[in-house]
């Protein structure tokens, strides 16, 4: 064996051992230990980084999941129950099932229904318009139509329908992350329980004004008449501040209220067409609007 080989061995081994010692102490001091489960949990997540779980990103959520002992308050809306089950299996815990939900836009005030009172020419932002002006109709609660919710959605699940000027949700794409709910300054969007075949029945209005005012401002407003409350066989409908609300959990999709509503404020979506025409034109006051 030549000198060089010998020197090499000696030098390298010394340096190797020295760094081993240093690094050993470093390791002692720093405990560079990332729970490997965090990586695994993260890998199991959809990695959309949408923030729907309430954490800053998927990794943060993964850390929270690994850190806490149960799944209380931890739910990834994008991955849904399936992902949560995977996580449960990974961590050896019980998954908490959460009802699947979907975003629902609760306003039907398209221009045909809502007489226009002005033309807004400010910044095209719902938040700004909302904070400075009532909007282009007399309704202080209805959709402003500048699509802030559309911009907020990371999943292209919501778009502005050019005909109605209102946002519409594509149920299949919606992950119920809630970004649009947060974005809407008027709190029009609600995450409601997802029913089979994407059926839903809901009051498509959040107007709390008195019936007469509401009606003047919008032909399809909830006027708080209370007929639906009476007709609902399951006590699913409540009336508060002149506004009916259908509890998505109690509602059994019987569709009785829909026919009853004098202003067609209750929408049914995803049902097969009825025999008789569902639209009961009770638009008596002659507000001069044509309901299509």
């Amino acid at each position: 064996m030549s000198n060089v080989v010998l020197f090499t061995i000696i030098t390298l081994s010394t340096i190797g051992a020295a760094s081993a010692i240093i690094l050993y102490f470093v390791a002692q001091k720093f405990k560079v230990f990332e729970d490997p489960r965090i990586d695994m949990v993260e890998q199991a997540l959809p990695l959309a980084n949408c923030g729907g779980c309430g954490y800053a990103g998927c990794r943060n959520f993964a850390e929270a999941v690994v850190k806490s002992d149960s799944f209380d308050g931890l739910y990834c809306p994008v991955g849904g129950n399936e992902t949560m089950k995977t996580l449960a299996a990974l961590l050896g815990r019980e998954a908490v099932e959460q009802e699947a939900t979907v975003a629902v836009v609760r306003c039907s005030g398209s221009p045909q229904h809502r007489p226009r009172t002005n033309h807004y020419d400010g910044a095209k932002s719902c938040t700004i318009a909302h904070s400075l002006y009532i909007g282009e109709s007399g309704c202080p609660h209805g959709c402003l139509g500048y699509g802030e919710c559309v911009d907020a959605c990371d999943f292209d699940a919501i778009y502005m329908n050019p005909e109605t000027g209102l946002p519409e949700v594509i149920d299949d794409k919606c992950t119920a992350c809630g970004a649009c709910v947060k974005a809407c300054p008027r709190n029009i969007i609600e995450l409601r329980k997802k029913n089979p075949k994407d059926r839903k029945i809901f009051v498509s209005c959040i107007n709390e004004e008195k019936g007469a005012v509401a009606r003047k401002n919008c032909a399809v407003a909830c006027i708080g008449c209370g007929k639906c409350v009476k007709v609902c066989p399951y006590d699913a409908i409540t009336m508060e501040k002149n506004l009916a609300y259908i509890d998505p959990v109690k509602c059994r999709l019987c569709r009785k209220c829909v026919v009853e509503c004098p202003t067609n404020a209750i929408l049914e979506i995803g049902f097969p067409p009825r025999k008789e025409k569902p639209i009961v034109t009770e638009d008596s006051e002659g507000s001069g609007l044509n309901l299509s």
Partner: protein, 190 residues
């Protein structure tokens, strides 16, 4: 004067990032905030200079006499890896609060090819110890200059409407390219 020329040359003329292609990962990935970049520059300067001094000495006074220059890479990397950690541990030991403040201030610690690259370059260029040290210092400054300028640009890009596909690394590289174009103007100054 010689040292000043070395510094000018390594900061402007052959900038470590923009002309020599070293330390690009942190350049692309980290330089999001100007304050952090300034912090990085300070930390990197110390680490690079210290590493260069030590590797230079090991090379000149151990490897060469023993005739095992070929073990340069492996020796250097081990020394550097240990050194970086050692600095951390010392800082933590001597003043935990200060160490914590650094932790909040600097989101990242320094290990990148710039440190090794410079250590290797310093011995490759046949410079003496002081020259190597000044060279390392100049390059650390050059790294800092590129990093800080770039962080400023990044902060501004964040407020602009960069097309989606370009965001992140692509635009960072293009900006780096244009900075490199601009830096070419310094050719021949030294």
């Amino acid at each position: 004067m010689e040292y000043i020329l070395i510094i000018i040359s390594s900061v402007f003329v052959s900038n470590i990032v923009l002309a020599q292609f070293l330390g690009i990962c942190p350049f692309i990935g980290v330089s999001n905030k100007v304050e952090t970049s300034i912090g990085m520059t300070g930390a990197v300067t110390f680490v690079i200079v210290l590493a260069t001094v030590i590797t230079y000495m090991v090379y000149t006074f151990i490897l060469i006499p023993l005739g095992i220059e070929f073990a340069r890479t492996i020796t250097f990397i081990l020394i550097i890896a240990a050194l970086v950690q050692l600095v951390e541990i010392i800082l933590k030991k001597v003043s935990p609060t200060m160490y914590q403040a650094l932790g909040i201030f600097l989101p990242l610690i320094t290990t990148n090819c710039a440190v090794l690259g410079l250590a290797v370059l310093a011995v490759q260029k046949d410079m003496n110890l002081v020259q190597s040290t000044v060279f390392a210092f100049g390059n650390a400054l050059g790294f800092g200059l590129a990093l800080i300028t770039f962080a400023g640009i990044r902060e501004q890009l964040d407020l602009l409407n960069i097309p989606k596909p370009m965001r992140g690394a692509p635009i960072a590289l293009i900006v780096a390219g244009m900075l490199a174009l601009a830096f070419m103007g310094f050719s021949g100054i030294v």
